[in-house]
Amino acid sequence: MSPPIIAGFVGAGLVGLGLYALIVNPEPLKKLLAFNLIGSGVFLVFGIVARRGAVGVFPFDPVPQAMVITGIVVAFAASALAVALMLRLAEESGRVTLDPDAWTKPDDGAEGP
């Protein structure tokens, strides 16, 4: 097996593991970590795409690398936003749960607190 194929399998494995965790884990923080695992797998795939696109003097195709940088920045910003939301949620309510029933009041929550 050539290195790009191995890297491809690793990327696919990371995406699969991350997706599984994103779906089955009820805790928001673990879901966020799972999202970052998927992200790592996707960025690895971009790396392979860059390697395979090598032409002439370039050992890599620079375009996918530029895309990975952008993708990492976006994923980082998204993770920071999610953590900030979790902290505010914990501050306001003392718990961090996504269970919608936890927020329904006996009178259907028509009035805010």
Binding site: V15, G53, P64, T70, A77, L81, L98, W103, D108
Partner: protein, 501 residues
């Protein structure tokens, strides 16, 4: 291979359409305080003027207008392209966002005693951010550029959903964000596969180079799954009702009317512009079936909601379902595809205006009654006739009764499904209309009784008028002339290739 695309005349308008709201965000941030509101509302007429000039230019040229950024043509550079649907969507967003902004002046003014309030500052900046992100989505011609725009849209919409700062809005926003992140990362993975296969992400070049490779099928499935999660198509809709129903009324109007259309627009771009050459492997039937599921499921749940805002949010899920009938009815090269295409786009526009109007009306209602429990609406129509007229006219469009944009949309889709012999979609359209009639009746029936009602505050006339004018646009769309549909067809790839053997 066609010659490299260069900037067409008036292509610079597309840059202006993106630059204006982006400059507004920076200026609001720098000047702070009350200026954010002034800039957001002050730049709105300019944004509308730009959107209308784009529309006029596309109509005059009869083909898409293009701007190659920095003079570099794809695949080296990134192109901005506006065709008929981009222009119409730009105008739609330039009408609905200022309407929501004007409505929000009452609730999101900076208090007189303070220099700057967090709630107001966030709201006015994020409103402009939504307008910037939508502009990029509507005119971008590059799939990676579109990925970034999609993320901007999510990051702008999220603070609007939880700007009130209550615990349940944070929980709803967190769910929204997790679904959106799932969606964007799968879209990105699909984009990586497409780049690996064809060495470009420019929509026009991809369409030219498209060949049925296994990587393309995988990319199409991954990107569609991601976009469906962002559009809240059944069964990935779980995040939408709490996020949209708990947001303040003007935010709900923008989120439900426009933001979900952003990712739908991208789904259209993907299937009709990038992948039309992909041999049918049943994808369009799958999308149509999910849409039908959304129509039935969303409408039935809307029928059971005790609160008006939740009912309207579940109705959004049902109405999004209709949009996806465009995939089985508008694709390919058949006599009926024009009807399917036009009907699907008319549904995008009619729903945007009708739903924004209904959420704003629900906001007025909540302020005046102090609650939005449908069971306690008795007699409210007498006290606030204009608001219930808005809910009724918006409902007319949701049901698809004439005269309304919703009727035109459903009529065209129905015609396409009959002409193509795909009867099952016609059944969905009819059942969906009946169920919508049911939930609209549930809002109006108790309100029309003659019981006395106690108002906590008199209804805000300006807010009522804004909501009503949006509902009237949804009705007027039903009278769209033939030339309007010709405009929607400008740049539609199925037509461009129709002459080929």
């Amino acid at each position: 291979m066609t010659p490299a695309e260069t900037t067409t005349s008036s292509g610079a308008l597309l840059v202006l359409a993106i630059l204006l709201p982006s400059a507004g965000i920076l200026a609001s941030f720098a000047l702070g305080g009350r200026n954010a509101e002034r800039i957001a509302l002050g730049s709105a007429p300019l944004a509308l003027a730009i959107a209308l000039s784009v529309l006029a230019e596309v109509w005059r040229a009869g083909r898409p207008i293009v701007y190659a950024i920095a003079g570099l043509s794809p695949p080296l550079g990134i192109a901005l392209r506006a065709d008929g649907i981009s222009a119409v969507m730009l105008v739609t967003s330039a009408l609905i966002i200022p309407a929501a902004g004007l409505y929000a002046r009452a609730g999101f003014a900076t208090p007189p005693a303070e220099r700057e309030s967090r709630k107001a500052f966030t709201f006015w900046i994020m409103l402009q951010a939504i307008s910037a992100a939508l502009a990029i989505i509507f005119v971008s011609g590059d799939l990676f550029n579109l990925y970034v725009a999609l993320e901007l849209l999510t990051f702008a919409a999220l603070p609007l959903a939880c700007v009130e700062g209550r615990a349940e809005t944070f929980a709803a926003a967190l769910r929204y964000l997790l679904f959106a992140l799932f969606g964007s990362i799968f879209y990105l993975l699909g984009a990586a596969l497409l780049y690996g296969a064809f060495g470009t992400l420019d929509i026009a070049l991809l369409a030219e180079r498209m060949r049925p490779l296994p990587a393309v099928t995988a990319a199409a499935a991954l990107m569609s799954a991601g976009l469906l999660a962002k559009t809240a198509l059944f069964p990935l809709h779980l995040w939408l009702p709490p996020a949209h129903a708990n947001a303040p009324a003007p935010a709900s109007a923008v989120l439900s009317g426009l933001v979900v259309k952003g990712s739908f627009f991208l789904t259209l771009r993907l299937w009709f512009y990038v992948l039309p050459a992909l041999p049918a492997v049943g994808f369009d039937a799958i999308l149509g079936a999910l849409g039908s599921g959304a129509v039935v499921f969303g409408s039935v749940l809307a029928l059971m909601q005790p609160r008006l805002k939740l009912l309207i949010a579940y109705s959004t899920i049902a109405q999004i379902g209709y949009l996806f009938l465009i995939f089985p009815l508008g694709s390919g090269l058949h006599a009926w595809t024009a009807d399917g295409w036009n009907g699907g786009l008319m549904q995008v526009l009619a729903h945007a205006f009708a739903k924004a109007a209904m959420f704003l009306a629900a906001g007025v209602l909540y302020e005046s009654l102090g609650h939005d429990k449908i069971a306690k609406f008795s007699g409210a129509a007498k006290a606030m006739p204009m608001t219930f007229l808005t809910l009724g006219l918006g409902g007319l469009s949701l049901m698809g009764l004439p005269p309304s944009g919703g009727f035109a949309a459903k009529w065209l889709l129905l015609r396409a499904s009959v002409a193509s012999g795909q009867w099952v979609w016609a059944l969905v359209l009819l059942v969906g209309g009946l169920l919508a009639a049911g939930y609209v009746y549930r809002i109006l029936a108790p309100a029309l009784s003659s019981d006395p009602v106690a108002l906590k505050a008199p209804p805000r006339r300006a807010g009522e008028a804004i909501a009503l004018s949006l509902a009237l646009v949804a009705v007027v769309l039903g009278f769209a002339p033939e030339s309007f549909f010709q405009l929607l067809d400008i740049g539609r790839p199925a037509l461009a290739t129709a002459g080929l053997p």
